[in-house]
């Protein structure tokens, strides 16, 4: 073999390998950069009183985001109560009963498209569907908007994890004279259980950070939560309002709120992945 050609090939190999490694490092680096920057900007304003106090009027020192934390928990929690059961049940249908059916194909397709719909459009839809008829912004309308975003994520995740359950497991149960519905409920679902629940958690973490769908549904509020049918503060909304305000103090608080939101999403992600690990070992 020609030695020069070989050297050239090795050089190109090293160059391309290096390039892919740099890009890989860059992708992971973005997360670290965001985390680091937010921590640097937000940590100084983060304190116990910030987490437990209501917002103060402009100009007054102090004030916190307690109402937004409670609001986010309520809005996201209700969104999960609506979105997770619908997504899981639909996923069960697709994976266990919809094989080869046209209907299942279209549902899957629609879910994928819905997953790609901009979240602000989902917010507008919820505005038209819930806010206008009831003539008020409300926590419930925000939850409905978020649940619409959750359904396709939970659905596809549920379907994928159910498909990972080997057919031999279903056959083993059927061969024992167990009716099909019970095979799904008592054997297949528990086998895929951790994966499905992890997916649901990740979907919750994902919508916890959504702002656009809440702008004209939950709307935001500077006071304690006044029930499901009134406007309510959430972390992303408060962050957004503070960030676009002209006040230096609110900017600092926006960074701190961003840090809180980021830590929450990160914690859910890490917890979900740690939880999933043992199940993946035993499912195969």
């Amino acid at each position: 073999m020609n030695a020069a050609a070989y050297a050239r090939r090795r050089a190109i190999n090293a160059l391309m390998l290096g390039l892919t490694a740099v890009c890989a490092a860059l992708s992971a680096g973005v997360l670290l950069a965001i985390l680091g920057y937010i921590a640097w900007k937000g940590a100084s304003s983060l304190s116990w009183s910030f987490l437990t106090n209501l917002p103060k009027p402009v100009g007054e020192a102090g004030g916190g985001i307690a109402n937004a934390i409670v609001g986010s928990a309520k809005v996201v929690g209700l969104a999960g109560l609506i979105g997770i059961p619908i997504g899981v049940l639909a996923g069960i249908y697709l994976a266990e009963y919809g094989k080869g059916r046209r209907f299942a194909f279209w549902v899957r397709y629609a879910a994928d498209v819905l997953n790609g719909v901009p979240s602000i459009v989902v917010g507008l839809f919820a505005y038209a569907l819930v806010v206008i008829p009831f003539k008020r912004f409300s926590a419930v309308s925000g939850s409905i908007a978020l649940s619409i975003i959750m359904v396709p994520i939970v659905l596809r995740n549920t379907e994928e994890f159910l498909r990972l359950v080997p057919a031999s497991i279903r056959e083993a149960a059927l061969a024992l004279g167990v009716p099909r519905w019970k095979v799904v409920l008592r054997v297949v679902l528990p086998t895929a259980g951790r994966g499905i629940m992890t997916g649901a958690l990740l979907a919750l973490a994902r919508v916890a950070g959504e702002t656009a769908p809440l702008v004209f549904t939950a709307f935001g509020n500077r006071f304690w939560d006044q029930g499901w049918l009134n406007p309510i503060a959430t972390l992303p909304l408060t962050l957004y309002n503070y960030a676009i305000s002209p006040y230096e103090d609110w900017h600092r608080q926006a960074w701190a709120a961003a840090l809180v939101l980021m830590l929450f999403v990160l914690a859910v992600n890490v917890a979900a992945r740690l939880w999933l690990k043992p199940a993946q070992g035993s499912a195969h």
Binding site: E171, A175, G177, V187, T191
Partner: protein
């Protein structure tokens, strides 16, 4: 599945007419009663070619019937028709007559049928979320049995019958998938036995096991057939010769020859059977 094209040295009959019922041989007096009889069984998948082209055979009580034949001959499909698991696949069909205790199997509720006709699969498939105990109990528990004492007793009996009790009695709460391959397969046998079926179907139950684990399962079969009827599909002709009283040889969806194992292996009537068991093809 690998489907080696098998060319029989003698031309097959032009039309696959259902075989006549096996004639009672000279030993008819000692033959045990027929518990399941299959007549003109056809099966396949919608659109595709048929896999079974009219199979007839009788399964006798408390005996082991082996089904042998090359890959793709339809032997797995045949036993999967006997508990109607074949029909659980999308587009699959199965027609003909399978009689079990005076009823046509193809007309009764498959769920109830499967409690009488159990099955053990090619690869051990314990339920991954369940312990050893729960695996064996699953058939009872999932079918609504709630008497704990009865369940515990049945689990122990079944594990003993599957020759697994001594190995697992101290780790009943451990996950079933933590056992060795051979133990997992015996666990699956215990799970099937716990439902107390009359007939146990085994679809190449040793093909994923080493020779020692295989020998244990074969020993176990000898004990099991004291109490129930076994139909076993096997790739391994020595295994068929060792464990069975009756052997059916299948080729390309047809049952070529069916008779007492001794006769099939020593004086096969059909040239194709002889070629197969002497290793000239397949």
């Amino acid at each position: 599945m690998d489907t080696n094209p098998v060319v029989p040295p003698t031309p097959a009959p032009a039309l696959a007419a259902p075989l006549p019922a096996p004639k009672p041989g000279p030993s008819a007096q000692k033959e045990k009663p027929v518990v399941m009889s299959v007549r003109g069984l056809r099966a396949g998948y919608g659109g595709g070619a048929s896999v079974l082209k009219g199979v007839s055979l009788d399964v006798r009580e408390r005996t082991v019937t082996a089904i042998i034949g090359p890959s793709g001959c339809g032997k797995s499909t045949l036993i999967r028709c006997l508990n109607r698991l074949h029909e659980a696949l999308p587009g699959a069909y199965c027609e003909g007559d399978i009689h079990l205790g005076g009823r046509n199997v193809l007309e009764i509720d498959p769920v109830l049928l499967r409690r009488e006709v159990g099955m053990v699969f090619q690869r051990p498939n314990p339920f991954p979320t369940m312990s050893v105990f729960e695996n064996v109990a699953s058939g009872l528990v999932l079918n609504g049995e709630s008497d704990r004492a009865k369940i515990a007793e049945r689990v122990e009996t079944s594990l003993r019958r599957a020759a697994l009790w001594d190995e697992v009695k101290d780790k009943l709460a451990a996950p079933g998938v933590g056992l060795s391959g051979g133990q997992q397969q015996r666990l699956c046998i215990a799970r099937a036995l716990a439902v107390e079926p009359h007939i146990l179907l085994m679809d190449e139950p040793c093909s994923a096991l080493d020779p020692i684990a295989t020998a244990r399962i074969e020993e176990l079969l000898v004990e099991i057939k004291e109490q129930l009827t076994v139909v076993i599909v096997t790739h391994n002709m020595q295994q068929a010769a060792r464990v069975s009283e009756y052997t059916a040889f299948m080729l390309m969806g047809e049952l070529v020859e069916f008779g007492e194992t001794q006769q099939i292996f020593t004086k096969p009537v059909d040239k194709r059977t002889e070629d197969y068991i002497t290793g000239r093809f397949g």
